[in-house]
Each structure stands twice: as structure tokens, then as C-alpha cells.
């Protein structure tokens, strides 16, 4: 196992703790917006999709890269927009 891999695993483990910690106290009414917001964040897979699409050459690579980019972009854009729409409804409640 390379030292580099150990570094990656370190990021992973620390991110697990941060992920637990950061939402530990969330009121029920925000459960759905929070789910939707974090749903948008895993749209970061768009970076991965772009990385494979950028160097696609064979027809199969092109098809896979294209589908991955479309799916990932839908995840990112749809995720953020729908979360914003949900949270828009909360405004005006606290006068």
C-alpha cells in the first residue's frame, strides 16, 4: 500500500467525522431540504464525469462519458435548484 493511498484514506476518515458532526442538531422541518442539499453536493461526481469525458476517444468511451456528464449535471443543477425552491418557501415566516 502506497503512502499516497494512506493519505486518501485519511481524508476519507476525517470527512466521515466532519459529516456526522456538521448536521448533528437539525430540526425536523429541515430534514427534507438538508437531504436535498446534500444530494446536490454529491453532484461533485460531475468533476469525475468531466475527467473521463475529456479524454474519450473510442465510440464506447464517448457514449459512456456523455451519459455520465448528462446524469451528473442533472444531479448538480436539479439538486441545487430544487433545494432553493424548497427553502424559498420558508422565507417570510420569521417576520
Amino acid at each position: 500500500m502506497s503512502q499516497h493511498l494512506v493519505v486518501l484514506i485519511t481524508y476519507f476518515v476525517l470527512a466521515v467525522f466532519v459529516g456526522f458532526e456538521v448536521i448533528s442538531k437539525v430540526p425536523t422541518i429541515l430534514h427534507t431540504p438538508l437531504m436535498s442539499g446534500s444530494n446536490a453536493i454529491h453532484g461533485i461526481i460531475l468533476v469525475g464525469a468531466l475527467l473521463i469525458a475529456a479524454h474519450a476517444e473510442t465510440p464506447l468511451e464517448i457514449v459512456l462519458g456523455f451519459v455520465a456528464v448528462v446524469l451528473a449535471t442533472t444531479n448538480v443543477v436539479g439538486g441545487f435548484v430544487v433545494t432553493d425552491r424548497m427553502l424559498e418557501m420558508f422565507k417570510g415566516r420569521r417576520h
Binding site: H31, L64, L71, G79, F80, M89
Partner: protein, 464 residues
Amino acid sequence: MTIATAFAYLLAAVLFIVGLKFLSSPRGARRGNLVAGAGMVLAVGWTVAVLWQTFTPAGIAICVVGVAIGSVIGTVGARRVHMTAIPQMVALFNGVGGGAAALVAVSELLKLGGARPEFQTGFPSVFAIVIGGISFAGSAIAFAKLQELMTGTPITFPGQQVVNGLLAVVIVALAVILLAVTGSAVVFTALLALALLLGIAFVLPIGGADMPVVISLLNACTGLAVAASGFVLDNFALIVAGTLVGASGSLLTKLMSDAMGRSITNILFGAFGQVHVGAGSGFAADGRSVRAGSADDIGTMLAYSRSVIIVPGYGLAVAQAQHAVRELADLLEKRGVEVTYAIHPVAGRMPGHMNVLLAEANVPYEQLKEMDSINGEFKRADVALVVGANDVVNPAARNSPGSPIFGMPILNVDEAHSVVFLKRSMRPGFAGIDNELLYDPKTVMLFGDAKESLTKLVAAVKGA
């Protein structure tokens, strides 16, 4: 990765964490979403800027067209969707992310040309394909159930657990073959196909009312699949963002099932083995009669009571009746009737659904009472006015151990002096079970669309 790229990804990760933090408090939630969005723009924009020189011509074309198409689908889908359909929209956006993660891993394995992958890329590839595939197919089923393209009731058959178990075993076996013997495309294509199948099989036996929890779980799964893709591509941004979602999503799943008073295992596997119980315990709706009242009678009853507790549910959301219900409440308050709203944590089809709707109609925040603080009040209430809610007031959750919702905390509507149900029909609620409270002698039904019924009640109260 250059130093500058590393810093850009680090900044993006910080923005994601700060965004999540804001998202978990009512005050900062909307800003949190924007902060996380800024992190996303930074990470994606930087990646494109750095890659630009190395793009193949085909690469440029598919990236530009792909991003354009995805943006249109995402924006239109998210803008056009009705408030009532938002949960299934979230399921869809989650599923496509899982699908993308699986495809990224498939593409990386293809590059090896059939050679056996090294463990440190092979293992995360397998993980991303399997979990991403399950998330994609599972989310699609969750969407279909919530959109009522298929039945919302659990779909079970004898031996289901064995079949699902076998599927899982074959998946593990294929994963071992891929890691230890051959990287042939046949193996990982089969792996992806079986993962999709397992995703479908996993969500089928779960009832529609439990879908928000399932979507949250699949959301966490997609996060982990994305993190695994990050290991495959050796990419810090994917690992950190994916893991954040995986961890916070798992915790959120637990919080959501706690709010329903159920364990996650009960939600995921509760329907198994209930094939016979379910069929036997259905109350015979025929043979018993319900009391249907006129709007005038019910309006008079409301107008001359001292306290009314309104219990909103999915029917209110469907009928977009939030403004009508507020009008009725205002009118009653003018007459000196004490009006409060009892909000069940999972009323509607997502937690917080009712708060969002009633906030839109500017219902005063102080009138919204959470379940724990209102449940003691029903005993003193003259009328409990149930507007399009069913399962969350079903006493079977307390009294009937065989019921699928047994153990779920409910609003104690049955303790009120009289109960008024505004319902479209005698159709059971989303959990697919009958509600004995409808047959209670102190219950009056007013059939029809919630908005129309409320408008009639407003007129009746005015005339009383």
C-alpha cells in the same frame, strides 16, 4: 494534481462543509445551499479550466452538449415540479448521481482493456459500480412509487428475502472474480446489471409512506459511491464531498426514522414476512358505515366550539388548500375560537411538508404545534379538523400490533370531543391500511376536494 488545483478543491470542500452547516439551521438554510453551490461552481469550473488543454475534440463536444442537456433537464425539472412532487424529484436527482458514479468507474475499468485491476483501484471501482447501481435503480423505483406510476403498497412475495440474499451473494462473488481473476468487461457489466436488479428488489417491498427515509438512505449511498469514484480517479474533491454526504446522509436517515418512531431496519425490512399478516389484518371496510355530514352542520359545529385543532395532511397539499384553511382559521379566531395546527413530523410526503405549505399561506408560526406539545391538548379540544391526513392519525399505530404502522407515533385525534375528516373518498392513506377512526360514532366525514370543502365551511361559518 497541481498545487493550485489542490487549493481550489480544498476551498470547495470548505464551502461544502460550511454550506451543510448552514443548511441545518432554519435561519441560514437558504444561504447554505448557495454557499455549497458556490463550492460546486469552483470545483467544476477549475477542473474544466485545468483540463481544457488536454481535451480531445470529441471530449469537448460531449462535455459541452452533456452539460447543456443536463442543465436544462435539471432546471426545468426542478422549476416545473409541483410542491407535492418534490420528494420524488429529489429521488430522481439522487439516482442520476449514483448512475454517473457507476459509469465513471466502468469507464476506468474499460481503460484497462480486460486486465485485472490493481486492488487499490479495483476495490473502489467495484464499490462505485455496485452502490451507484443500487442507488440509481432504487431511486427510480422510489420515484415510480411516489409518482404513483406503480402501487405505493409494499410488493412482497414468498421467498423474497432468499432471492435478494442470493442476488447479494452473486454480486460479492463477481466482485471477487473481478479483483482476483479477470478484469473482463463481461464481469463488470454483469456486476452493474445485478446491482440495478438488487436496487429494484430492495425498494419494492418498502411502502410509499416510508420513501423519504429510503431516498435519504440512497442519497447517503450515492455519496459513498461518489467517494469511491474519487479513490478510483485519485481525486480529493470527490472523496471529501462524497464522504461528507455519505456520513451526514446516514445520520440524517437515522434522524428521519427516529422522527417516525421506527428503526431503520423496521422500515427497510418490515414488510418481509408480512405477506399473510397483511392480507388477514385488513379491516373489512364494507359492513360498517361512516357518518357523512353537510358543510352547514359542520360549519356550525366549528363556529360554536371553544377550541379547534386543525390536522393538515397530504390532501391539503394536493388540493393546494393552504390559503383556504387559513381563511377558515382566521374566521374562527374572529369569533373567539381558539385555533391551533397540529403538525405531525411526517405529515405529507416529506418531513416539514406542512410547515412549508402553511408558511406559504402566512399562517402565524405560533399556531403551528409539533406533535409532542399538542398531543396532550386533544383531550380538551372540541373539534379536531383533519384536512387530508390519514395515517398520522390512525389509532391502529397504537392499538393494532399487526398493522404495518404499529409503533409509529400519531396525533391523538381520537381523544378530541368530535372529529371532522375532510377526505376525498374512503380510500385508505398512503400506508394502504384502513382507519378505524373513520367509523367512530364521534367522527363526521365531509367528502370532497380539501379546498372546495374548506371554502364551503368558510361560507357555513360566516352564515352561522
